[in-house]
């Protein structure tokens, strides 16, 4: 799958990384525009960190090309280091250093001269909401505090692109909300962000675009809505009834209606199931909203005691599970499973 956008800050083209026989990345391509927040998701070992490490110049691809703001990630690594701020999952703490000393050190390493550096330390602490931590020892900080300081460190040299690996990891609910606000603020400041996370609902709330990879391959790329549309070709609906006695009858009615619409469905007629305990009928279909509307009218006309008729909302987690399951059921995965079983 290849995705192309104009005015892209981050461009990845046919990126492949192999370790001997093992392919960590397989012809990965994508582009991210300025100010966008890209949610980069995939199961453990999918190739996210490999992609990030190639982008920040820590790894070389076997083939393909990656560039940030026009600078090649392989040949112009010095330029890349100034353009990118990378926050790895590991904090990288130094004992016996205060937060201000820690940030001062990284500022000096990036070649920022003394006076602007001291000013910058205050600025990034303020942006990260960590001003009160300035005099604290780095190794005495809690996980949530460390994440804020790590973010401040990532912003020290005012990079154009921020790559954040699991920024919400280990944060309490309030800190997660703060982190979300902070990411949106950075995006408003014109920064381009790549964020990896396993907390998908969080990611869905802040990301403009999402890239899903499994086994080194791009499985889905685009806005959350477009991915849902692409992935979830069948939607699920729920019909809430007023009494449990009507469930069987209503289920049969829905199934009959779905069978009648089979000619318009993609991949055969939808399937209806009844849940007496919940007084509910569920069905899935690939029909559009205007095609489904007559079903409600028909049920009401039949005298079914319908109290609610709604679509079950799907989120990024469902989409991710769909992609992951699809991957597992693919012939390659099945073959490898058979080999493992034998």
């Amino acid at each position: 799958m290849s995705v192309s956008e104009s005015n892209a800050v981050i461009q990845i083209d046919q990126l492949t990384k192999q370790y001997g026989e093992f392919t960590a990345l397989d012809s990965l391509s994508m582009e991210v525009r300025q100010g966008q927040i890209l949610g980069f998701i995939g199961p453990n070992g999918a190739g996210k960190t490999t992609t990030i490490k190639i982008l920040v110049g820590l790894l070389r691809p076997t083939s393909g090309r990656a560039s940030i703001a026009g600078a090649d990630c392989v040949t112009e690594s010095r330029k890349i280091k100034k353009l990118v701020g990378y926050m790895p999952d590991d904090f990288g703490k130094y004992n016996n250093m205060r937060v201000s000393e820690y940030l001062d050190f990284f500022g000096a390493v990036y070649g920022i001269s003394r006076k602007p550096r001291l000013k910058r330390v205050d600025e990034v602490l303020e942006i990260a909401g960590a001003t009160y931590m300035k005099d604290l020892f780095v190794d005495a900080l809690s996980r949530g505090m460390q994440q804020r300081v790590a973010l401040a460190r990532t912003m020290m040299h005012d990079p154009e692109v921020l790559i954040l690996d699991e920024p919400a990891n280990g944060l309490d609910p309030q800190a997660r909300i703060d982190m979300r606000t902070l990411l949106l603020r950075l995006s408003e400041m014109g920064k381009t962000l790549i964020v990896t996370s396993h907390i998908l609902p969080e990611l869905a709330r802040v990301c403009d675009v999402v890239a899903m990879i499994t086994k080194g391959r791009m499985r889905a790329f685009g806005t959350v809505d477009s991915i849902m549309r692409d992935i979830q070709q069948r939607r699920t609906f729920e019909i809430q009834l007023l009494d449990r006695d009507s469930v069987l009858q209503a289920t049969a009615a829905v199934q009959a209606w779905l069978d009648a619409q089979a000619g318009h469905e993609k991949g055969g007629p939808g399937k209806a199931t009844g849940a007496e305990a919940e007084q509910m009928v569920r069905f899935n279909t690939s029909l559009a909203d205007d095609a489904i509307a007559p079903l409600l009218a028909e049920l009401v006309q039949q005298g079914q005691p319908v109290s609610q008729f709604r679509e079950v909302a799907t989120d990024l987690e469902d989409a991710f599970l769909h992609v992951a399951n699809e991957e597992q059921q693919s012939p390659v995965a099945q073959q490898s499973g058979e080999v493992a079983a034998s």
Binding site: F91, G92, R98, S100, F105, V109, A140
Partner: protein, 552 residues
């Protein structure tokens, strides 16, 4: 069976490091005995040859125990604490004593394995004849007690520190102190020996904390540092003190094995600038360089990595360095003054030798402590990846790190300059010798730093790199001196001279005309040797840094 014993012992045995150690030890012992095995058909009825072999074997075995045993107990509790499993153990029905017993038994079982590795060599040595079985029994008894003493010491240190590398550092420093520094009070206060004045008796007892007098006694070499005076027998003294000290250390550690061991919330950072003026003044007077003051930014003319290294080391911070330098300066002045005022009859050469040894000991303790973790510390903490992400060049990175150690070692060396100055004042004809000695000491520091940085960079974990670096550095500097100890037998003049050439320490002692070293002509060859070896080590370090920094 105590489950902790099983886990600890099997855990140690599963480590490739431990397997390597055991294999190396067996090989070294066998080679040592084979080297001195009689090659002709004649029988040495005097037993002299077997005594020579026994001495090499005995000192080698003691060195093995001193180097290898402390590393395991030193990291035992702190690793358990940091990984969270100590909390699980304390939360189980096991009490502190059984946890301790389990852990120390695992370590002691490994020590037994170390001693067992030497059995084939000791059997061969015994078969040569001339050495009674009782000597072997006493030697093994002393070494077993030594393992017990160092294990309990390591465990105590481990219960206090926060990281495994500082546990290794402190334990090796303490072991080094127990081995050598305990000999000094007796040298200073010796008088009439047992039954004499109080200080002499105390000095004598402290001396017996070191296994050296006991082992030398078993080897039939008399008492080190006794100068022919009647003293408490080294063997008996050591057995009593080792048992006593081990019991105290074990009890102390067991008392710490409860919930309070986690009760170490660290100060989140009191800043002197926010204290009342009188406290600020007091702290300034006490510390001179106050560690808690708010720092300005790193100036442009300093390598930021060097400043970072100083700032994130607890011991490397300026106030500690100043204290260390002051102690060195005062000690060197006192030693030289004692010689000048005739308080001792040692003469300038002996004082010079003491100064050289004092500095070498400091260098050997400091260089691995500061140099071994330069790269592994970064890799361990995750800082290496962050630094790779910055535009700083590998050369600037490593030079900043090396300079932070160089400055510390230079300060320590410069601290003894007043002592040497006084020596030159007393005996102006020694000017050239003192200059040569200082060059030798400079080379010693460079050499120790090069070995520490290169060996330390080969390992990912700071604890492993620190322990292995200590072993290598101590071996490199101590083995030539051990060879020198056997200068009349079993080693010939040329062997001793070649061994002394491998480090600049022998050259320094020879230049200052220290007793027993005057006969060897080691300069300028020793400088060349250490220079070439240091260059090789720096090359290894450079290659390793390049390897770790490149994108692959």
């Amino acid at each position: 069976m105590n489950p902790v014993i099983r886990r600890e012992f099997i855990g140690i045995l599963r480590s490739p490091r431990a397997f390597g150690m055991l294999a190396c030890l067996t090989l070294v012992f066998s080679v040592a005995v084979l080297m001195r095995w009689p090659s002709d058909a004649s029988v040495d009825l005097s037993g002299l040859q077997s005594l020579q072999v026994f001495r090499i074997f005995g000192y080698g075995l003691m060195t093995g125990v001193v180097f290898l045993v402390p590393a395991f107990p030193a990291t035992s509790l702190v690793n358990e604490k940091n990984s969270g499993t100590l909390a699980l153990l304390l939360n189980s029905p096991m009490n502190g004593a059984s946890i301790y017993l389990g852990k120390i038994s695992g370590v002691l079982l490994f020590s037994v394995l170390v001693l067992l590795c030497s059995l084939p060599a000791s059997a061969a040595c015994y078969a040569m004849g001339g050495i009674g079985g009782d000597k072997f029994f006493f030697l093994y008894l002393v070494l077993a007690l030594l393992a017990l003493q160092y294990s309990t010491l390591g465990m105590l240190v481990s219960s206090y520190v926060q990281s495994s590398d500082s546990a290794v550092r402190i334990t090796y420093a303490a072991v080094f102190g127990l081995l050598f520094l305990t000999l000094l009070p007796d040298v200073f206060f010796r008088g009439t020996g047992v039954g004499g004045d109080f200080t002499a008796v105390i000095g004598n007892w402290i001396r017996n904390l070191s296994p050296l007098p006991a082992v030398m006694e078993i080897m039939g070499q008399g008492n080190v540092g006794s100068f022919g005076l009647k003293t408490l027998p080294g063997f008996t003294g050591f057995v009593v003190l080792a048992l006593l000290s081990s019991s105290v250390l074990a009890y102390w550690t067991i008392m710490r094995l409860n919930h309070r061991i986690f009760d170490q919330s660290r100060s989140k950072g009191v800043i002197t600038n926010e204290m009342a003026t009188r406290w600020q003044v007091l702290r300034r007077l006490f510390f001179i360089v106050d560690p808690q003051r708010r720092k300005g930014g790193i100036p442009w003319y300093l390598n930021p990595v060097m400043v970072k290294e100083f700032r994130c080391r607890r011991f490397g911070r300026a106030q500690w360095l100043l204290r260390l330098v002051s102690v060195c300066a005062v000690t060197s002045m006192v030693l030289t003054y004692m010689a000048a005022a005739g308080i001792t009859s040692w003469g300038v050469e002996t004082i010079g030798a003491l100064l050289v040894l004092l500095q070498v000991m400091l260098v050997i303790v400091l260089a691995p402590s500061l140099g071994s973790g330069l790269i592994s510390g970064e890799r361990d903490s995750g800082g290496w990846e962050l630094l790779r992400m910055t535009p700083i060049s590998s050369f600037r990175l490593i030079s900043g790190k090396l300079m932070s150690v160089v400055w510390t070692l230079l300060l320590v060396l410069m601290a003894t300059l007043p002592g040497y100055a006084m020596m030159v004042l007393i005996a102006p004809e020694l000017t050239l010798q003192v200059q040569q000695v200082l060059v030798c000491l400079l080379w010693t520091s460079v050499y120790a730093l090069a070995i520490s940085a290169a060996v330390g960079s080969l390992f990912r974990s700071t604890a492993v790199s620190t322990s292995i670096t200590y072993v290598v550095v101590i071996a490199v500097f101590l083995i030539p001196l051990l060879v020198w100890l056997g200068r009349d037998a079993p080693f010939g003049f040329e062997t001793v001279e070649t061994a002394l050439l491998t480090t600049p320490v022998g050259a320094a002692l020879s230049v200052i005309d220290a007793p027993g070293f005057g006969a060897y002509e080691l300069l300028p060859l020793a400088w060349w040797v250490s220079g070439i070896l240091s260059s090789v080590m720096f090359l290894v370090l450079g290659v390793q840094v390049w390897r770790l920094s490149r994108a692959v």
